[in-house]
């Protein structure tokens, strides 16, 4: 059974077929989310939210499009949500830390960035560049396919990829020197 047949079954209320889809794509999805977020727990949360969104919006799916691209585009949006949440948490943490230090007079709180990205070089890339590079290098996506995931023009996707490749190359060269 291909993806479209499975999805049609899901649309008819067969949740077991959705389980097949989840099992087919969970590895790729978690890996992609992990490569964007760098945290397993956040990656799993983003994946769960993405699959739930896929299930509840199945009737909006255009069967002419590739399912994996659609899933990855939803997953990418959920990853951005996770990053936004994290940024809000960091702002809150910094504020409460400053307030605590002011009242106590000593720096007592410390927070280290847990589970950094798989490779620290990836931190230098923006999320768009990171996902472009990941899809290109790991999944073998072309500029057009990346643009479907990022929901931007193919030119923009190619530019993200080009910038990411250039940045990583120079960083790798610096690392070796």
């Amino acid at each position: 059974m291909n993806d479209n047949q499975l999805l049609r079954e899901c649309l008819h209320g067969n949740t077991e077929k959705f389980k097949v889809i989840v099992e087919k794509y969970r590895g790729k999805s978690v890996a992609l989310a992990l490569n964007i977020l760098g945290n397993r727990q956040d990656a799993e949360d983003a994946c769960q939210e993405a699959f739930l969104q896929v299930y509840s919006h199945l009737n909006n799916f255009d069967f002419k499009r590739s399912f994996s691209n659609w899933l990855f585009s939803i997953l990418y949006k959920r990853c951005l949500d996770q990053l936004r949440k994290r940024r809000r948490f960091f702002v809150f943490f910094k504020k409460s830390k400053a307030e605590y230090e002011e009242s106590a007079g000593s720096p007592a709180l410390s927070f280290s960035k847990q589970n950094p990205l798989p490779h620290k070089l990836l931190e230098k890339l923006s999320p768009k560049e990171r996902i472009s590079l990941c899809l290109w290098a790991v999944e073998g996506y072309t500029g057009n396919e990346i643009s479907e995931v990022l929901r931007c023009s193919p030119s923009t996707a190619r530019i993200h990829l080009y910038k990411a490749r250039k940045k990583i190359k120079s960083l790798l060269e610096k690392e070796h020197v």
Binding site: N35, E44, P118, A137, V138, T156, R158, R165
Partner: protein, 153 residues
């Protein structure tokens, strides 16, 4: 080399992504010098966590199913609440309209024009012992009546 530097400069200066992409496709993809300044897919792949290194994926489906059930449970009372709110609002509109209609034109309530007409009546009018023609003018929202009497010609 100079050409590459110039193209690089153009790339950083061009404001539109389509133009930048044109440069990338026309020059950078065919230029070996510029190609060497881009990471290849194999080196890039090494930076990422591959799918086969992801373990313990068994918990994802049960977690999704649990969240689905939870969402369904949360959705149901919300839907019910929305339905009740809609029905109450509809009923309220009907009740208010009915009360307003009752107060406006219900039994026992007469229209002011009707009552004044009933109160003000001219049965016959004469001028010099001859029947005359009467015109009654009642300005709106006023208790004054103007009566104009003319001899019939």
């Amino acid at each position: 080399m100079f050409k590459c530097k110039f193209i690089d400069f153009l790339f950083s200066v061009l404001p539109i992504k389509r133009w930048q992409d044109f440069l990338v496709r026309r020059h950078l993809q065919n230029c070996t010098v510029c190609q060497r300044r881009l990471v290849n897919s194999e080196d890039a792949r090494r930076l990422f966590v591959p799918e086969n290194r992801i373990e313990d994926l068994e918990g994802i489906w049960p977690a999704i199913k649990l969240r689905q059930a939870k969402e369904k449970e949360e959705k149901l009372p919300a839907q019910r609440r929305r339905r009740w709110a809609f029905a109450t609002a509809f009923l309220l509109v009907i009740v208010v309209s009915a009360v307003w209609l009752y107060l406006a034109i219900g039994p026992g309530k007469e229209r002011p024009e009707q009552s004044s007409i009933e109160q003000f009546q001219i049965n016959s009018i004469e001028i010099d012992n001859e029947p005359a023609q009467a015109f009654v003018y009642h300005p709106r929202d006023s208790k004054t009546y103007f009566v104009w009497v003319e001899k019939k010609t």
